[in-house]
Symmetry: C2
Subunit: 319 residues, 2 copies
């Protein structure tokens, strides 16, 4: 699982940070999921050589503020102009996101060359397939703002091909049946149990991406045991009144969520422009968070983060 930050500025773009978007690439599939789509996200795709609009399969919008949303009509329309972009796209988001997208596309006469579906999310499971499940939780912001958790299902253990060969099991469909744990009878009458050839199952990874929010117990519950938490840190604690007024988080609040949820790593994002251009101030954000949760990093545009598979049998202390 690989996360790429495409925008890390709060409210408005700066010269070095665009407004919010995060791309997620899941293993063993070429598609990409997008979390939020601030204005200029399609421009950021042009500058991220490992990402293509054609790969986008799902878009998750956290909340309806423009800096998380206004890039969506343009991104969908440009995707439609590119060859090889006939695969469907599903947009998940709060009430209103469907009306916004439909209205913008209709008024601009944009006819998409691929099926587009928009689904309003609600507390709980958002979507699920054979590989992952996405759930969401309502956070605390001036408008309904959602956090999304992407959780891999438990991964089957590694199949021991060497041992299967040594046992003289012919390669082919039998391997698949053994991998899935079946017990089979070989042509020579021997009985082989798949579970004997397969290592212990590996826990799936968990990535949580929170929308704009002040500190919220819902963020803690959603992020419980995550390998990676992306949380906004719009302000420094010294600007707490600003954070409180706009229901944004300070760096300390984000770190407190990470600590209480027992995540492995925290990435801070969505920085107020007031801390940019003065390196020391962004460093102060990082320091403030690390004092509470040491495994904290600052996101920046185009930073890619790999989330490695969990070790077989490993259990996150917070699970």
């Amino acid at each position: 699982m690989k996360l790429t930050f495409l925008g890390t500025s709060a409210g408005a773009p700066t010269r070095h940070r665009n407004v919010t978007a995060v791309a997620l690439q899941l293993p063993q599939r070429s598609s990409c999921w997008l979390f939020d789509c601030g204005e200029g996200t399609q421009h950021q795709f042009l500058r991220a050589p490992h990402l293509r609009l054609s790969q986008i399969e799902k878009v998750f919008i956290t909340h309806m503020h423009g800096d998380h949303l206004f890039g969506l009509p343009g991104l969908l329309a440009t995707r439609s102009m590119q060859s090889g972009c006939e695969t469907p796209v599903t947009v998940f988001g709060p009430e209103g996101v469907g009306a916004f997208v439909r209205h913008a596309l209709e008024l601009s006469g944009s006819q998409l060359q691929y099926p587009l579906e928009v689904r309003t999310v609600d507390e709980g499971v958002v979507c699920e397939d054979t590989q992952v499940r996405v759930t969401c939780a309502l956070l605390t912001h001036r408008v309904p703002s959602w956090g999304y958790a992407v959780e891999e299902h438990i991964q089957p253990g590694r199949f021991d091909v060497e041992r299967a060969r040594a046992l003289g099991i012919p390669e082919g469909p039998l391997y698949g049946r053994l991998k899935s744990g079946e017990t089979i009878t070989l042509p020579d009458g021997r009985i082989v149990r798949g579970t004997d050839l397969t290592g212990p199952p590996r826990p799936g990874r968990k990535i949580v991406i929170c929308g704009d929010t002040i500190f919220s117990p819902a963020s803690v519950r959603l992020a419980r045991g995550a390998d990676l938490l992306v949380h906004e840190a719009t302000h420094l604690e010294e600007d707490l009144p600003l954070a409180r007024r706009a229901l944004h988080s300070t760096a300390r609040m984000a770190a407190e969520v990470a600590r209480q949820a027992g995540v492995r790593r925290l990435y801070l994002t969505h920085f107020s422009a007031r801390y940019e251009g003065e390196g020391a101030r962004l460093d102060a954000l990082l320091e403030e968070a690390r004092a509470v949760f040491p495994d904290t990093e600052l996101a920046r545009d185009f930073l890619s983060v790999e989330v490695p598979p969990r070790e077989p049998g490993s259990i996150n202390p917070a699970d």
Copy 2:
């Protein structure tokens, strides 16, 4: 009058060109007018140090296609977050632009800190003040697409301060009355005619910015005698079928408009991405146009063009 191209790509952004926007700065006022507002126009303002969102006073939208429009809600919202941006903004454009802007701002909970007015344009005069008049004409595209002509009123001739001083006329309000052509009686009884102290009036400048269109007689009429014409040249003549299908212009068509309208200079813009990255192909666009109208240039993002005042008494041959 100074024009700055902020986006010169057709349909979608490329790595080097954003989608359409042109900023116009009028003399003797700090405000700036914007023609079209493709996605990412607010980002381009960040990279154009002589332009600020606070300066924007009027926005003219040529047509409702997303690559000319989708940057508008974000630009208006970001302008509202900046200090010193309380001055009103008026958006002029085709039917639908008001609904688009209102809908996007409402759904995103954007409350502007300045008055915003949206006016639907129609053939003829769009707005007028003591300095300039803006008119528009309907061109030929897949959706209603407008061209805008900005014409300065006739400028009063230069007031000869030296001569006024030599005549012993006391500096002060009398100068203003003489400048405006009045005849005055001095305290010593002498009669002085303002017209004797003022040079011949200077014709105003004219700038014409056309929206997307295939060759149209309306463009020729609108651009008649302009100092500067901005016209799309999406395609090369060799791709005429593409231009015809989408009702876009070839470089030759744009040059033909400039030639028939007798303009002074033509700037081509809105290039298809198919000609970019291969320098020779954009050169081919320029050559194709220059064969018909030699005073042609290619626009590029952040190119600024000064339109100098006309000489007193000068008349453009096409006027």
